[in-house]
Symmetry: C2
């Protein structure tokens, strides 16, 4: 990139974060950074990059968006990358077996903007080039963002997918869009770390109770349970309440006391 | 691309044409083809590709959009690529010295759709990776399409730029958008070949008349004249009329007769 002398300082918004799960090619990470900064986004999180990090190919393709790559947060688990998030939007085709809100790009941008305005920490999650997000990753999301692609040729390049989101996000920057989707709770929203701990707790107790049967259906059953709770857009306080509820139920089952749970 | 057995045949719209002027990297041409087909476009014209054509790197990156590359029309001049076009929209930053309509992406898509509905042949013109369209190329356009980019980091990757157009085009496919911009002439619109011949004719006569002075201002003067006429969105009949008008003026100047002009 050549910076003209009269070029203003770039717009650099830290949120929403763009989270790349298991990206394969450094070139694509660089192209993502460029497309993000083209539309004023600079919060990038990279989870389990196949070829390690930092990757010189990413910097070569970023064409001057080095600042996005230099500030990028590297995570070796999706849990870590999502820990502080209160709204997770997954970019994927419409999922077949999960009940989640499905948003078009403009709707996603408006809803994320409304969430930000209420102090939430929204992230948009993109899967790896070849396969996209897997079912467990999609199950983590509060909502899906999907693009109106050609049904006969739907597979979008990773950096293109991020660019389409960033572009749509940028379009909404000047608009004062009405919050189409928001929570009006007094308690702050639960973070992904809160929710994760709750799900882990719940699933462990359910396993002890031989809930998951037959075994080959277990992953699907877990995803459906998570989806159900995620749709509720729980607050921090509600998560605490639910954990108390789980403990209370467990005590009744086998005589264990509140406080046995190590989490 | 893996085609699922239940995948429908892809949407493949031949118009508007995407014209790549002097593209440098085969990878980018392939990424353009993929992004086009993702949103149902398959009319590609490639002008003076730096590395020749066909280019195996383009096919590698197209990820299954080979049909777009196989059908692509290769042209060794922009004149040839635009010859049958009746509406040329150039993707570029807002030009400083040309008076042309400047459209946002949604506006461009709506106007191109309206033109198509009236039987026009619209093309969208994209410049090379490093430098974008030059002034003479931009001067050929009836209108500019520009994206709301970060003013501090405006340089978009070529395939991203095409993807943003194709995406916006696809968004409008289901909408019954009111024609915001159209011509309501009885005569068919002039083609670029008609207009080119007229400009060549006009400029030759202007040179003979020592109109272009000083010499270093000639290119700019020519562009401004072209822009002026292009804004008028001339019909075929109007171009004939103007050419007759030029001839008539020339006769008065030096005693030459109608019919001397070899074009």
């Amino acid at each position: 990139m050549t910076r003209a002398p009269d070029m203003p300082a770039p717009i650099m918004e830290d949120w929403p974060k763009i989270v790349l799960a298991r990206p394969q090619m450094g070139e694509n990470i660089g192209a993502v950074a460029r497309a993000m900064l083209n539309f004023g986004l600079c919060g990038l999180r990279i989870v389990e990059p196949r070829d390690g990090w930092p990757n010189p190919k990413a910097f070569a393709v970023a064409s001057g968006a080095d600042v996005v790559l230099e500030r990028a947060q590297l995570d070796w688990s999706l849990d870590a990358a999502l820990a502080d998030a209160t709204l997770v939007v997954a970019a994927t085709a419409r999922p077949r077996y999960l009940e989640k809100p499905v948003w078009g790009p403009a709707e996603a941008a408006a809803n994320i903007r409304a969430a930000l305005a209420q102090g939430e920490k929204p992230v948009v999650l993109f899967g790896p080039e070849a396969s996209g997000l897997d079912s467990d990753e999609v199950a983590r999301a509060d909502a899906i963002v999907t693009y109106p692609v050609n049904p006969g040729f739907p597979s979008i390049n990773l950096s293109t997918a991020v660019a389409l989101f960033a572009f749509t996000w940028g379009l909404g920057r000047q608009e004062t869009s009405a919050p189409e989707w928001f929570r009006d709770a007094v308690s702050p929203p639960a973070t992904q770390a809160d929710l994760d701990a709750m799900f882990t707790h719940l699933e462990r107790e359910l396993e002890r109770g031989r809930f998951f049967h037959p075994p080959d259906k277990t992953p699907l059953m877990k995803r459906n349970i998570r989806s159900l709770f995620l749709r509720a857009r729980l607050t921090e306080q509600e998560v605490k309440t639910l954990r108390g509820l789980i403990k209370a139920l467990v005590i009744g089952r086998g005589g264990r006391k509140v406080g046995d749970d190590p989490a």
